[in-house]
Amino acid sequence: MKRLKKIIIICGHYGSGKTNFAVNLAVDLRKQGYPVTLTDMDIVNPYFRSSDHSEMLDSKGIKVIAPVYANTNLDAPAIPAEMYSAFDRSGYSLFDMGGDDAGATVMGQFFRNITGKEYDMLYVINGKRAMIENVHDAAEMLYSIESASRLKATYIVNNTHLKDYTDAKTILESMEYAEKVSEAVNLPILCTTYPVSMIKEQEISATGGIITQHLYPVEVFVKTPWEVN
């Protein structure tokens, strides 16, 4: 996979799998020996957020910064001042933005902290996710995220999946969708993910299709309580 800038912002439609991708990328970069910070900027969703995985990330030496009331009973979207520090840290700093333009709006207040710095913003898409399955809608969504966050995306991450029903065919077929989105928004595709616990890379090649994108194996971290182990 292409080498990314030190500041990596992950955005997308809520439910597209942003958080799971962000957690995988953080773990991956940490494994390569870099210092890694993961900032949970999601003040919109109360559940299924990267700070849910703080303990695991912590044990791997990944610094997590979360909203003040993340994982509490209160849904006040208070941003801790510590979030400013994420723009100054050594190593990789990942930002898991909340879904949609709503999540992206939160990034707006950090505009000055990021101007003049190099960053990559990854737009995570899922061709099976209702509301962005249509290429036009996926493009619209990106534009509204970009305008709310006052930042520009640099890559597309094709994270198409259907949860338990994901199979090699789902992955292969999604590549065409990703390409269309890529063309529509004029952004390169960084990778296409596949859930490594469910599908082997060979199975995707064995479908007979042509693999046009970099395949990136991901663990499924974001789970419902009854899916654990």
């Binding site: 009331y69 509490t72 009973n73 209160l74």
Partner: protein, 354 residues
């Protein structure tokens, strides 16, 4: 004290005043309006507060405020109004505040009608608002009992720091009976309330009344603690009245107005040689299970009679737990079952009528 003739609603109001209640917040709704009118007339004369709120929602929250300040506070309404109060009741329970809420039930659902009903049993005993909590629920069946239970309701609300409901109905609210008002010297804050938010006077740390807990663990712990208290209440506070149950084959179970009908039906059945008896729950939560348990061995069948499509019968069946048949008879929509209709059901159970 000499007996006087009073309407149920007036008796409730006077009893509350005698129990030390000096803060009443209401909103008119038939058939409980006399209660508010009585308070409006009486409170200014004794230095108390009667305030007509802009809605039932506001009224219950005024109760929350007065109770948070440490005072005995009360509100009353009828079925549709109680639905509106349910938000505030949940907050009162979640903030461990005492309060007395009166429901003079009428027919429902929706606007329903103004005639008496007992169709809010589930609402009172199962879900008077969102979240895990209970109210103590008292069901008077005479005007005299309306007065006696109000005093008890205030005492227990303070003792257990929880909302208590008087679940009455339009018939009891509107009817007159002789009442003996027992003199009481209660004040509006008869017990120490060190938790009250009434100004710390620079002599203690600030008190906070709230129902928000930041971690699910803290919230669970608190709710569990409240449920331990509920267990104590279940053990200590069950109340029921029994009538001719010792040798009864057929045991009727009814509360409030319908228990009055049943008493008449039991008398007639006895004249016909049918051994009928009546258990009349006075507390609906905690449900007086032990009174039913006593008679499961000798009773041949139970008959639950309600002014609803059958709500309390669930609790009777839970108590009897399949050991004996439990039948149900009810009228709804504001219709009061007639003693003859109940008698017919008793006859059916004894095999007298095929």
């Amino acid at each position: 004290m000499a007996k006087v003739l009073m309407k149920g609603n007036e008796a409730l109001a006077e009893a509350a005043i005698m129990a030390g209640c000096r803060h009443f917040f209401g909103y008119p709704i038939t058939p409980q309006t006399e209660l508010a009118a009585y308070m409006a007339k009486k409170m200014p004369k004794i230095g108390g507060v009667y305030l007509q709120a802009e809605s039932e929602i506001a009224a219950i929250n005024m109760v929350l405020g007065a109770s948070a300040a440490g005072k005995r506070a009360m509100t009353s309404s009828s079925s549709p109004g109680i639905s509106l109060k349910s938000e505030g009741i949940s907050y009162i329970a979640g903030s461990d505040l005492p309060a007395v809420i009166v429901n003079v039930q009428r027919g429902g659902p929706g606007l329903g009608g103004i005639q008496p009903s007992q169709a809010d049993y589930w609402q009172a005993t199962r879900a008077t608002g969102h979240g895990d909590f209970h109210l103590m629920v008292y069901a008077p069946s005479t005007v005299q009992e309306m007065t006696d239970l109000v005093a008890l309701a205030f005492d227990n609300a303070d003792k257990y720091r929880m909302p208590v409901m008087i679940l009455s109905d339009g018939m009891l609210g509107q009817m007159m009976e002789p009442v003996e008002l027992k003199t009481a010297n209660a004040t509006d804050c008869p017990i120490e309330k060190p938790w009250a938010a009434c100004g710390h006077r620079n002599s203690r740390p600030h008190n906070v009344i709230n129902s928000l807990y930041l971690t699910p663990q803290a919230l669970e712990e608190l709710v569990k603690k409240r449920y331990e208290k509920y267990e104590v209440i279940k053990k200590e506070e069950q109340m029921a009245d029994e009538y001719l149950t010792d040798d009864a084959d057929i045991i009727l179970v009814a509360y409030g107005a319908s228990s009055r009908i049943c008493r008449t039906a039991v008398n007639t059945a006895r004249k016909e040689g049918i051994k009928a008896g009546l258990i009349r729950p006075i507390t609906l939560w905690p449900y007086p299970a032990k009174y039913i348990e006593k008679h499961i061995a000798h009773a041949k069948a139970f008959l639950c009679v309600e002014m609803s499509m059958g709500q309390m019968v669930d609790d009777v069946r839970l108590c009897v737990n399949g050991r004996k048949p439990v039948a149900f008879y009810g009228r709804t929509g504001g219709i009061i079952p007639a003693p003859d209709e109940v008698l017919n059901e008793i006859r059916k159970l004894t095999g007298g009528v095929k």
